[in-house]
């Protein structure tokens, strides 16, 4: 089969479904951003831990936009290019809160599980 061809295999793949949450959080924290900016921000925060195909950011943006959680409009980027800026909507913030709580709950459970020691 064709796996095992990546050289930097110590990086983790982005967990399925978590990218949307990251994008929402970035937009919530930093205000309107274009796709490139979002990718940079995720890269910065993940400190090279995550292996991100930046193209997938756009799939995520499209998905979020269809759900009505983010909105977009055209503007000019810092280096004077035409760029599409995305911003989080009110229902997006609600969704973010829900998802964050959800994530923390699951992360907590998994964390506790992984710390589990054998008991007599």
């Amino acid at each position: 089969m064709s796996n095992g061809e990546n050289t930097n295999s110590e990086k983790s793949e982005v967990l399925q479904g978590t990218l949307d949450l990251m994008v929402l959080k970035v937009l919530d924290a930093l205000g309107p951003l274009h796709g490139y900016g979002i990718a940079r921000r995720i890269e910065q925060v993940s400190k090279q831990v995550l292996q991100l195909n930046e193209g997938t950011v756009y799939t995520s943006l499209l998905r979020l936009q269809q759900q009505g959680w983010i909105a977009s409009n055209w503007g000019t980027s810092e280096n004077n290019r035409k760029a599409k800026f995305y911003s989080i909507t009110k229902s997006g913030r609600k969704q973010l809160a829900r998802e964050t709580e959800n994530w923390e709950r699951i992360a907590g459970v998994i964390g506790r599980l992984l710390r589990l020691e054998g008991q007599e």
């Binding site: 490139y36 998905r63 936009q65 269809q66 035409k82 599409k84």
Partner: protein, 885 residues
């Protein structure tokens, strides 16, 4: 839900602004890539390195574009058209493959559509009556003779009608009377029936003209009214609206026409041109020993079948107590009308539906094998496309689109096949009298939807295996390998063999079924009906009461007629009977035996046949003891009766029945008849039904000899040639007397085995198709096997293998597959043929001879299918094969 709607709306918008959205995404991506490149350049890469790195960082561009379009909705339609276009191109590139696949599928789908069109018309479509689900037929259930559907005695019907509270209406029809209709329009022979006043309203039919019968017209004396069918009204009276109120002459009596039936009215059984009221009076109103009536009823709203059954059961028990002599052992059966009318064919249709399902599966396996071979050949194409970034799902989708496209073409061809076979089916079905003549078998919306669904499912079923196999291909390997490998595809081969094994097994099951039907039909034709069917002409006559009011006049007419016919050149002998074997008519009476207590209920009634002297001789029914009727056995001379051997065995076991006397329960003529002869048994009800006890009475000694009569004539050569002379003989005696139903006894025989013939033809055809498909499947697989192994065979031959050894290698491989299939098929057949039990006659469903013969047949055909590729293998040139490498 609202959420879902919003997503849909977004997709819909996407659908409209598709191109703009595409451009916008492109712009975004371009900007993103530019900025990434700039960043890498800043980090010290060259322009080209930076661009490559940016691409890598960004990921699969094509996949992103496709994903985004797919998310926006329109993409799926676009993909569909793209795949269809591509599919059509692929199919046109290989016309041979396409033709074989489409024809195979057409057979499979067409057979299913054709049989489903019958199922649809017969079992699924509601009957053409108002609220047909409430309609039932009510029968007497005669427990002692284990006959749950016996037609009804008039007095019982009257009691049921008076006492029940579960039926909205309960109506009766006496289909027997047939009439000579005379008038200024000329004489006409028509089928008529007596119906109760409720009969037509029961079915919810509104008259085209006039009205139906009133309830007081059921009184004898007031019943001189008639309702005519729409057909007769058009045909004979030129659709004259003035017909209402006019009088017509039936059998010499005048009846006033009060109504015309609507054009679409269908009698549930039989076809009638005219109805008169069923006026039950006098002896008939009290008759419980004779059973002329068919009774139909409509359940009251909210009353279930079970409740009706319970109440009618209680009524039957009361009647048993009240009339022990006639009603002991008589319960009541209520059958939903739809079930009643389609009973005979229900099982056959289910079995056939299973059979066409098998044929379709075989066709699927065949086409799957073809596709499998093709997809292995296309391996390289798939690998390249995967390498260029196509998603695996996307490839599967494209392959499935191709399969469904193929299935669609097969479906269209199959539909044409179904349309073409429709007429044949209709002829076979109505000829076999298995369904009411008026049921219309056509390709309606439901059949179209069924065909569409079958086609789609078929396409997915036969397309899935090849599609999955294709994309499982190892990308790197396939690209590295220049061509095919001699050793590759072990798994594919197993799949292909499994498909062929299942084809052979399925074909085996169908062939065994067909084999059993052939066996049973053959045995059916060998059954001795108890009389000789060759060279017998039969002609129906009915003398009208008005012109022949007295019994002796009728006897006189027939005496003279038979003598006249007997003296015609080419005639050996002539006779007459009221109920002819194989004609579907019969009657039974209850009776007493002299010196014995009343007969127990299981023997109280026996089949009853009025005949003339000369009947036994003409039919070739041998006399085993005593004497035949003579022309001296007439009204006034001592009353006599002849019984058959079955009756002698049942009523006088181990005794001599000659000289014993019996008396019919007929209030009008209470006389003792002396048994003067015993004849051999006749299978009156058809070749599959065991002879029943029968008693024959001289026509001229009965109280009302104006029964319609069938004259039978044994001829020296082709009986139909005598028909004009017979008609002439009748007209010479009475120039107003029509004859009708001129048939030969062999026609009647053929008609009585028509259902079996129908099963045989349909099942045999399907089994033959299955055999051809399975054989061609095996041939295809073996052929492919040889192609794949050309090199191996070449090497073997180069190393000194003989042709015979090569032949054995290939044939051995093919027969191995065949034997597994035959083995599985035998097991399968053993398991399912029991469902056919009641469709067979005289042969066990697990008949070892049939199983063995079919296994041999299949093996022989398989041998042929393997031999051709094997011979090709022996012609392999070792040098060429090796150079192939």
């Amino acid at each position: 839900m609202i959420h879902y709607l919003r997503v849909m709306a977004a997709r819909f918008r996407g659908l409209l602004g598709d191109q703009r959205a595409d451009r916008e995404l492109d712009d975004e991506i371009k900007m993103h890539l530019c900025m990434l490149t700039e960043r890498y350049v800043r980090q010290g890469m060259t322009e080209a390195e930076a661009a490559r790195a940016a691409r890598r960082q960004f990921g699969n561009l094509t996949l992103l574009q496709e994903a985004s379009r797919e998310m926006r909705g329109i993409r799926s339609i676009e993909i569909l058209f793209q795949d269809l276009r591509y599919g059509v191109r692929m199919l046109r590139k290989e016309p041979g493959f396409t033709l074989v696949a489409v024809m195979t599928l057409a057979l499979g789908i067409g057979a299913n559509s054709a049989i489903f069109s019958v199922v649809n018309a017969v079992l699924l479509r509601p009957l053409p009556y108002t609220s047909p689900e409430q309609l039932v037929q009510v029968w007497e259930h005669y427990r002692p003779q284990n006959n749950p559907r016996k037609s009804v005695a008039p007095a019982n019907y009257l009691d049921w009608r008076a006492q029940n509270r579960v039926f909205e209406r309960i109506a009766a029809i006496d289909p027997f009377p047939s009439f000579n209709l005379t008038g200024p329009e000329g004489p006409d022979r028509i089928q008529a029936a007596r119906t109760s006043a409720d009969f037509f309203p029961l079915f919810g039919a509104t008259p085209t003209l006039g009205r139906y019968f009133l309830s007081d017209e059921e009184q004898p004396g007031r019943n001189r009214v008639a309702v005519v069918s729409h057909g007769l009204w058009q045909r004979r009276y030129g659709s004259d609206p003035q017909l209402i109120g006019q009088s017509v002459s039936l059998n010499g009596q005048s009846f006033i026409v009060v109504g015309v039936l609507p054009p679409d009215f269908r009698f549930p059984r039989g076809e009638f041109d005219l109805a008169i009221p069923l006026a039950l009076g006098g002896w008939e109103a009290a008759a419980r020993g004779t059973h002329p009536l068919h009774v139909y009823a409509r359940l009251k709203a909210g009353v279930t079948l079970r409740q009706a059954q319970e109440e009618m059961g209680a009524i039957a028990r009361r009647l048993e107590e009240q009339y022990p002599k006639t009603n002991t052992g008589k319960a009541i059966t209520i059958v939903p009308l739809h079930e009643q009318l389609t009973d005979q064919i229900r099982l056959a249709l289910k079995v056939l539906l299973g059979a066409v399902g098998f044929v379709l599966l075989i066709a699927c396996a065949n086409v799957a094998n073809l596709l499998l071979a093709r997809s292995l050949a296309r391996q390289k194409e798939f690998s390249v496309r995967l390498a260029l970034g196509a998603g695996r799902g996307r490839l599967i989708r494209q392959l499935l689109t191709e399969s469904v496209l193929l299935a669609g073409m097969g479906g269209i061809a199959g539909l044409l096949l179904a349309l073409w076979s429709r007429q044949i089916l209709v002829t076979l079905l109505t000829g076999a009298n298995l369904i009411p003549r008026w049921i219309e078998i056509d390709i309606d919306g439901r059949v179209l939807v069924f065909t569409l669904m079958t086609t789609l499912v078929t396409g997915l079923v036969f397309g899935l295996a090849p599609a999955l196999t294709a994309i499982k291909a190892d990308l790197n390997e396939a690209l590295k390998e220049g061509g095919r490998k001699a050793t590759s595809g072990k798994r594919d081969q197993r799949l292909r063999h499994a498909l062929v094994v299942s084809e052979i097994a399925l074909a085996m099951v169908l062939l065994v079924g067909a084999g059993l039907m052939i066996q049973s039909f053959w045995r059916l034709l060998k059954v001795d009906p108890g009389f000789q069917t060759e060279n017998v002409l039969t002609v129906d006559l009915s003398l009208p009461t008005a012109r022949y009011p007295e019994g002796h006049q009728v006897s006189h007419f027939y005496d003279r007629l038979l003598r006249r016919i007997g003296s015609l050149p080419g005639v050996r002998s002539a006779g007459g009977a009221a109920y002819l074997p194989f004609s579907g008519t019969r009657n039974s009476w209850s009776f007493d035996i002299e010196g014995q207590p009343p007969l127990p209920p299981d023997r109280a009634e026996t089949e009853w046949r009025p005949i003339t002297a000369g009947y036994f001789r003409t039919m070739g029914i041998p006399l085993s003891r005593g004497r035949d009727f003579t022309e001296q056995d007439i009204d006034g001379s001592p009353e006599v009766v002849i019984i058959n051997e079955a009756m002698a065995r049942l009523y006088w076991p181990g005794e001599d029945p000659l000289g014993r006397r019996l008396k019919l329960h007929d209030e009008r003529k209470k006389v003792w008849h002396t048994v003067v002869g015993v004849v051999k048994d006749v299978r009156h009800l058809g070749p599959t039904i065991e002879p029943k006890p029968e008693m024959y009475f001289p026509y001229s000694q009965l109280i009302y000899p104006w029964y319609p009569m069938t004259v039978v004539i044994r001829t020296q050569s082709d009986p139909l040639q005598l028909a004009p002379a017979v008609r002439q003989a009748v007209l010479e005696l009475d120039k107003e007397q029509p004859v009708y139903n001129i048939r030969t006894m062999e026609e009647l025989l053929a008609k009585s085995v028509a259902p079996n013939r129908l099963h045989l033809v349909l099942f045999g055809t399907l089994a033959a198709v299955a055999l051809i498909l399975a054989a061609s499947g095996l041939y295809g697989v073996m052929n492919y096997w040889v192609t794949r192994r050309t090199q191996e065979i070449g090497i073997r031959m180069a190393l000194g293998a003989q042709r015979s050894e090569v032949l054995r290698l290939v044939v051995g491989e093919g027969m191995g597959v065949t034997l597994v299939g035959v083995g599985l098929g035998l097991v399968g057949a053993y398991a399912v043929t029991r469902l056919m039990t009641s469709l067979l006659f005289g042969v066990s469903v697990t008949d070892p001879a049939t199983f063995a013969a079919i296994a041999l047949l299949l093996a022989a055909v398989a041998l042929g299918a393997c031999y051709l590729p094997a011979r090709r293998a022996t012609k392999v040139d070792p040098l060429l094969a090796l150079r192939h490498e």
